[in-house]
Subunit: 260 residues, 2 copies
């Protein structure tokens, strides 16, 4: 089952995707819903960010080759994280599938994608074991954690490097059936494959992150966990289109434009 959040004639709805169309519901997948008879062609509706989270968690350094690449870039020793210390991103940066990533005038050439699996919390959870962690999920979506690497080096926090407006595309929808096992992430720029990796080959698993965090924090319906990325990225420029495909979910695609 695939949940989309859509805009039709200026109004916002949740809908269930059925082939090339979307069936509108009353309510939402978190608090409860009732299917309606209203149905639109997917091509006729505007896809929105599939959920606006109460809290936007990000796993950060969670794949080996990415940690190595970042250490090299920042001139640091390679230190694999020893614990699942989660970070945070900011809702202001979220945009939907198809929307434009806008680069401020003063970005350097070091603008990179990070293709990430996103776990979407479906119900409240506190103190959950790893074995039951996936039960609290509604499903998975896809994130692109755009990063300006020179700002990442220069600033004390990631506020500009990762949270500039439009730097967090998320979507296109939430898939409730996608399975971690065998999942692959494939990133293309202008249709050309740049990286392909086993999505679930993480330093700390989705289950481990959720269980660890939930010891201190009650997970809430609609919270999202961006699970980190593998490898590195070429420099992105005005006119590029980045596609992030994850097995069983779909493809998140966003064009890039630089401000005049």
């Amino acid at each position: 089952m695939r949940w989309a959040r859509i805009e039709v004639a200026g109004k916002v709805y949740f809908g269930i995707i059925e082939g090339d169309s979307v069936k509108i519901v009353d309510g939402d997948p978190f608090e409860g819903y009732r299917e309606t008879d209203e149905r639109h062609a997917l091509a006729d509706v505007k896809l929105l960010v599939p959920v606006v989270p109460k809290t936007f968690y990000a796993a950060g350094l969670n794949y080996v080759a990415h940690v190595e690449e970042q250490a090299r870039l920042h001139g640091r020793e390679i230190n694999l994280p020893k614990k699942a210390d989660v970070g945070y991103r900011a809702n202001n940066a979220l945009i939907a599938h198809g929307e434009t990533i806008t680069l401020p005038r003063d970005v350097t050439e070091k603008v990179e994608y990070e293709g990430e699996l996103v776990a979407v919390i479906g119900k409240k959870a506190k103190n959950i074991a790893e074995t039951e962690a996936l039960d609290c999920l509604l499903g998975f979506t896809i994130g692109n954690d755009l990063t300006e690497r020179s700002w990442q080096k220069e600033d004390r926090t990631l506020w500009r490097a990762k949270n500039t407006d439009t730097f967090s595309p998320m979507g296109p929808w939430i898939d409730t059936d996608a399975k971690l096992q065998g999942m692959e992430t494939i990133v293309k720029v202008n249709g050309e494959e740049k990286i392909r990796f086993e999505t679930n080959n993480m330093l700390f698993s989705v289950q481990h992150y959720l269980s660890t965090i939930s010891k201190y924090i009650e997970l809430q319906p609609g919270d999202v966990f961006w699970m980190g990325t593998e490898g590195d990225s070429p420099n992105l420029i005005h006119g590029d289109v980045v596609d992030i495909e994850i097995t069983g979910i779909g493809t998140l695609s966003n064009p890039i434009a630089k401000e005049n």
Copy 2:
């Protein structure tokens, strides 16, 4: 004018405080409202967090003595930040005035308050000058940025140290008339004054932060900026009550309890 967010008979409203009572409005102070005839004694309603922000910004190291104290604690050299690099906190940790700060079983003795001025954004703002920055505010409220200092040293991020559930009391309301000039912050534990400082004596002013951030990020109605704290704190324990008073706004008061 003082804006409260309240719960009455299980429903959530915004209201305007008039003396010891609160007048309910239809709508909210951000998108527009209409006053109603419904009025309740303040003592009869439950105060909620005055706004649930879309994005929860935190200034971090923004007062000289606090930077010095943190450097000493972490065994680092004193480095005053050279730029207004903003951080983020998480909505999960927010609680209202009067609600209990719950310390997980495994906290060490190093639990501390941080009394902070909170600027609440009232309208969208992008690329604003410092001279016009205060015009985008609805007003000010008060925050207590509870911190577990041993976790702050131990973890790669601040997720547990500052964002454990209940670690971000905010309130009691938003004051639209409070003035930065002459403002004082006074923190008391169990009624005894522990620190008093000039609220506006910041490394980087509210105006500078808002102007700087808005070059990359469109500020949104309801976003909050926690402006950092001065000095240090005694260790807090089960049974303590922390009061943070800021001139012209009011007092945010929360008891502390440790989990059994």
